[in-house]
């Protein structure tokens, strides 16, 4: 199986990607995750302004057969959510790194970003799990 893992992104061991921007980070699920999940039929998101806590669920992503928590890779505050996911959750299957982004967070601790995985580290994790 082939998984797209863009070099410019960071990753969590829970199969999320993190794009570092000036004041905030954008978060989504990786190509490996969307393939594992299958057809996404529903996404439950927090509201703008909600706090998120590293390692805790900030939302839920549902496929035809299963329900999975979305886990926060860092702590912070939600500054934006992808409203298109309400009517078109399948965007995550089609373009998980682009229009399939899920939320934007303002991190509460800039140093937390250092503990995120780079593309090579995530690649190693994925190849072990898909072997």
């Amino acid at each position: 199986m082939d998984f797209e893992i863009p070099d410019e992104l960071h990753y969590s061991k829970d199969d999320e990607w993190i794009l570092l921007e000036d004041d905030s980070v954008t978060i989504g699920v990786t190509d490996f995750a969307q393939q594992q999940l299958g057809d996404i039929v529903y996404v439950e998101l927090p509201s703008v302004g909600d706090p998120v806590v590293v390692g805790e669920a900030f939302g839920v992503i549902e496929s035809v057969k299963a329900v999975s928590d979305l886990l926060a890779p860092i702590s912070g505050q939600v500054v934006a959510i992808n409203k298109n996911l309400a009517d078109q959750p399948e965007i995550i299957n089609e373009e998980c790194y682009g229009t399939g982004w899920i939320i934007k967070i303002k991190p509460s601790d800039a140093d937390a970003l250092d503990s995120l995985l780079d593309a090579d580290s995530y690649r190693k994790i994925v190849s072990k799990r898909s072997a």
Partner: protein
Amino acid sequence: MKRTPLFDIHLRLGARMVEFGGYELPVQYTSILEEHHAVREAAGLFDVSHMGQIEFEGPDAIRAADGLFSRNLAGLEPGRVQYGLLCNENGGVVDDITCYRVAEQSAFWCVNASNIAKDWRWVLDHLESSSGVRNTSDETGLLALQGPASTAILTKVGSADAGALRGFRFARMEVAGCPALVSRTGYTGAGGFEIYLSNGDLPKVFETLLAEGAPLGLQPAGLGARDTLRLEAALPLYGCELDEETSPLAAGLERFLDLEAGAFIGADAILRDRDAGLESRLVGFALQERGVARAGCPVALEGKTIGRVTSGGPSPTLGKSIGLAYVPTEVSEPGSRFQVVVRERALQASVVETPFV
């Protein structure tokens, strides 16, 4: 886990495998939604060889089968197949099956994979001699070809006129040159055929059907789509809507019961249940807001739990979440409203007519 003779072919087609009924089977090849839509719009081909078959030969065996099957097997003409139930003495459901009358002294049942051992035991316990019955589950392969293009596809590879076979009838014919028993039956609400084969012929027939059917839109389809399709058709799944404690009357299956005192095991109890009146009924519902109802979700009314979802999920055809649930008869009419509780949120739902599509 057991494997059907098509295991390697499934892998080669890119199937993701899961355990079901003791078998390792495809849950999907490409995507559950894509396979579901293929069946509704063209056709899908399912490997359902995990299902079981029990054969009855001779007058004693036929009589015994008739005493266990909820419909009138004695009066069923050769070439006809019926859906019906096996019930226990308390009026609960042992299994839901299809019963094929092959000849005057010959019949077979197709039973759920999860109940093969139980049903076989049930038959042996109710027979004087086991000489007229055989459990042929392990030797029998079964494919389901379902969807509007099924007749055209089967006509390309069958030796007989598939279009001439009417609903709930079956015939022996060759499919891809292999001897088969073909019935116009299915579990999708999309129309089509079930094709009984010997294990050895499964690979050739499966691959020939896929090759000949591809130009007509045929795709292989897995258990994921099988479940979303049967849910849209509001067909019960044993273990969800039906079990040993559940009344077939509550499940809405009265028309599949030949209800006369002593007609079959469980008939007397079911007659008593009918006289006592039903307290709850199986209904189909659709969520009126975003979310997905799933098996196990409580059904609530005015803050109190009144029932439970037995099967639920997204309806790919309708674009909303649907489900089946047992609810009090007072809220079982189409249009009745209640809530389905998902992760502690009460989502509005209404009872709708079934089948859903």
